[in-house]
Symmetry: C2
């Protein structure tokens, strides 16, 4: 019956929604990285003029969303549905940043895969005939994440070589039911994959099996191969997780190394910026997608990308209780053609 | 273009999905309350045989979901999409409870409105032609919520008269694209409404304006009145919030007192069970919907209900930073007729 379903877990949209606007807002460190020219707003102040890091995170969200609406030439009141979430406990980064939006609000939680999850849901809402306009918004902030998940910044704890650096950034994508593209044409939602990793300083390894499962399922479901994509972009596997992913495919006799890249590897200069294994956080894939990737598509650099953001679904409590770290990866195809 | 949209924020499903299965799993206190006969599984042990309260919460989720699948005569592998979330930081209650489900997983966060939000999204996925089968799952546990949001249980803190008691319970609803009903026919998603309440011990007052906004919008969008419903059920406004909601409508010249009830008032005996203003938590509306309400509909007691779950979108951090408590309420119409 579900005519949009291909194979096991991929959905082909019947009226692919058009990306009408996209914007981001990042911190100083991101603004000094290799993608600096792709960001819409770079703040030298980690507080973004606010009194706490959490308020700063909400402020980034508000700004990124407003800029994306401006680019789409849409007002706040013209958005039918808003899908948003973040890493903070109870998703307060997006909730407080968007509390004046006036749109139907769906809070989502996909950890660092939230940009892809919210974009998938927003696309489904448009394609399903519910929304004419929908938005996907997410964020992370290095200082709120360190405080919440790791140690107080003042403590100055030493980071392991596998650790990643949470991106200070927010990204927003605005969809319309019709437009010149680029379009969201396919969705392969993630299932939870738990490889049994317990080291919370090695998220890349915890998430790589989920990315492998989703991307492999996507290829099987669609009959496509890596060569059908200009880019296969994971969210924040970083150096460790990216190597694992490429190795997994190599064992299947599939070489994804030509097309594969990772937002966590793109956003920082791994040699010069002391970020160890790369960037991470909801804001990592969100700010790379809404800048470097979508700008590049509009400039004709790439025609079709597979964007597979990745998330680690643990909390400090589950880690303290000795639990392993389940991963998830949601993929969406963004194509300049419908 | 969006032919499913009525008025401002209501969506009329074109092929209303059928509720094929529903089940719940609750704790001892809930099992002693007025709705005891409507629960599928009552555990005398608050740990549900596990070693921590968090693991207990995940265990409840797993059980409720399995029972709902059994009732729907569906296997885990036949579910296309799963929408789930809870109150725990990073939604680990549902993530860990459902990590072996094998379904496409969409994590959602709507605080105590999660049952309605996940049911709305699952319904949209089915109605939009994406899923043949979809599930909505949520939970809460008194002990995990107290530990996370308030004080250690051992501290024995005194509760204010406006405080509510987090329900220990999980609920799951399984939808199919075709079936004998009851059906999800309309959705009115919530927008964030922040009335400026800062007292984290008075959630009912913080959420009532959101419930009022959603229910009022629903009436305006559909042209329906309270008399069109056998029941108008809010999630966990409790005694304080319910009175506020009825008063708000009274000021508009609308009497909802005949149809209105609240899951937080139904689940406990407010006089005998020392719960102060009533029940709360994601598990409150979830276990009342999947037991008392849906059983009652199948037994012919009610034909059409408006289920408007309510959520308070703050965290301990935002409260400590002096922020107010934004509320949200998502409503779905459940009807024995399509």
């Amino acid at each position: 019956m579900s005519f949009k379903k291909l194979g096991k877990r991929t959905y082909k949209l019947s009226c692919p929604p058009s990306i009408a606007g996209h914007a981001n807002c990042v911190g100083d460190k991101e603004g000094q990285g290799p993608l600096k020219d792709s960001f819409d707003y770079i703040s030298a102040d980690p507080f973004f003029g606010e009194k706490s890091w959490e308020k700063a995170e909400s402020s980034m969200v508000k700004k990124a969303y407003s800029m994306a609406l401006d680019k789409a030439a849409l007002s706040h009141s013209s958005i039918d549905m808003l899908f948003a979430g973040d890493l903070l406990n109870q998703c307060v980064g997006t909730t407080f940043g968007l509390r004046e939006s006036g749109a139907a609000h769906f809070g989502v939680y996909g950890a660092c895969s939230t940009m892809a999850e919210s974009l998938a849901l927003a696309s489904m809402a448009v394609d399903g005939g519910f929304a004419d306009t929908a938005a996907a918004v997410t964020c992370s902030h290095f200082c709120t994440a360190e405080r919440q998940f790791r140690t107080p910044l003042e403590y100055g704890g030493q980071r392991t070589p596998t650790a990643q650096w949470t991106v200070t950034g927010a990204g927003a994508v605005v969809l319309k039911s019709f437009g010149p593209g680029p379009y969201v044409t396919h969705i392969t939602p993630g299932m939870i994959v738990d490889p049994g990793i317990v080291d919370a300083n090695n998220m890349g390894a915890a998430m790589a099996p989920a990315a492998y499962d989703t991307i492999k399922t996507h290829f099987e479901d669609t009959g496509r191969t890596p060569a059908d994509y200009d880019l296969i972009v994971t969210g924040d596997l970083g150096k460790v997780g990216s190597n694992i992913l490429v190795d997994f495919f190599k064992k299947d006799g599939v070489d994804i190394s030509k097309q594969h890249t990772d937002c966590g590897l793109l956003i920082f200069d791994l040699k010069g910026q002391d970020v160890h294994a790369g960037g991470s956080g909801c804001g990592c894939s969100a700010s790379v997608l809404t800048g470097y990737l979508l700008n590049g598509m509009r400039e004709g650099r790439w025609k079709r990308i597979l964007f597979a953001a990745t998330g680690a679904l643990m909390s400090t409590t589950t880690s303290q209780q000795g639990e392993s770290i389940p991963g998830i990866s949601c993929a969406v195809v963004i194509d300049t053609a419908q």
